[in-house]
Amino acid sequence: MHELSIADSILDSVRQEAQKHPGAHVTKVGVRIGALSGVEPEALSFGFSALVKGSDLEPLALEIEAVPRRQRCPACDITFTVTEDNLACPRCANGETLLAGGEELDLAYLEVED
């Protein structure tokens, strides 16, 4: 359970970014969480709410965009989204595909009000 420290890192970044927009009030932060990020969205939301409550950033909403895993087929040179844990290339059925995405743990945006 490291979602609390991930939530804390998100809040640190929000504070840093907010300093660049003096007078604006941050109402929402958007993050992208990859299927292989090792972060559980539900636990992250829970940790986030707990940290925001009573803090200088309250009320601050969190929006999580879940990002699926992607694989690349070296033979066809295509990248595809993995559905139902099937890593085989949809074009040539090659099973030896390479990890190409899904590790995201990114801050996507802030919403601010003046």
Binding site: M1, S9, V31, G38, L99, E103, L105, E113
Partner: protein, 221 residues
């Protein structure tokens, strides 16, 4: 309401330090590996068997992470190589800053290999880059063979799977063929070694893997 795009990593601070560590390992020609498993899979035993095989003067050091106690570092320092405990005090993973601090009073000039034993946990360590050249995941046959399916993140990101305690196979219901299939269904082409720290099976292949991987580091320097 305005929306301000950010496009920044949540763990950008960790990633910045990890990049600095990676650069430093590269400059010094050091292979750094990050070993991750559940508690009790045998990470420390593997390191004991590894260190006892290295001739005196081998340029190797070990960092070992635990929530509490320095028991592992004491077990590992018997072999005469530098070994240091990182006690996280409750945190379930190592991060790049803790590694950088632990390395501060070691001379990287005197090392060719740095082995990091992460805190026993298959989830959280997978999110934190420590600047390593390769993550290695270990699974013992006393666990469930479906662990690759339950914890896909760490199996997808690790270069090598070590199946440990294979001497117990006659006594446990672990299906090793299925474990290998599951691992490769999550990570096609994943390298897999079968090892027993008790009988010594597979340890030669493990040392060879480290040597091969170390050569790859120095050749692209």
């Amino acid at each position: 309401m305005d929306r301000i795009p950010l496009e920044k990593k949540v763990l950008s601070e960790n990633d910045r330090i990890a990049a600095r560590l990676r650069e430093s390992y590269h400059e010094h020609g050091i292979l750094c590996v990050n070993i991750i498993s559940s508690p009790g899979s045998g990470k420390t035993s593997l390191l004991e068997r590894t260190l006892e095989r290295f001739p005196k003067g081998t340029r190797v050091a070990v960092l070992t992470g635990d929530i509490q106690t320095d028991n592992d570092a004491r077990r590992l320092s018997r072999f005469g190589f530098p070994a240091k405990q990182i006690t996280t005090g409750g945190t379930c993973h190592l991060d790049a800053l803790r590694v950088e601090r632990a390395l501060a009073d070691w001379s990287l000039d005197s090392l060719d290999l740095l082995i990091i034993e992460n805190v026993g946990n298959l989830v959280c360590p997978s999110s934190y880059d420590l600047g390593e050249a390769a993550k290695i995941v270990m699974l013992s046959v006393a666990e469930g063979e479906d662990k690759p399916l339950k914890y896909p993140s760490i199996f997808a990101k690790s270069e090598l799977l070590i199946l440990n305690k294979v001497d117990l196979l006659p006594y446990v219901p672990f299906d090793i063929k299925l474990a290998r299939e599951y691992a490769r269904s999550i990570h096609p082409g994943m390298e897999i070694l079968e090892v027993s720290c008790t009988t010594g099976q597979g340890l030669d292949q493990w040392i060879e893997w480290l040597e091969k991987r170390g050569k790859a580091v120095t050749s692209d320097k």
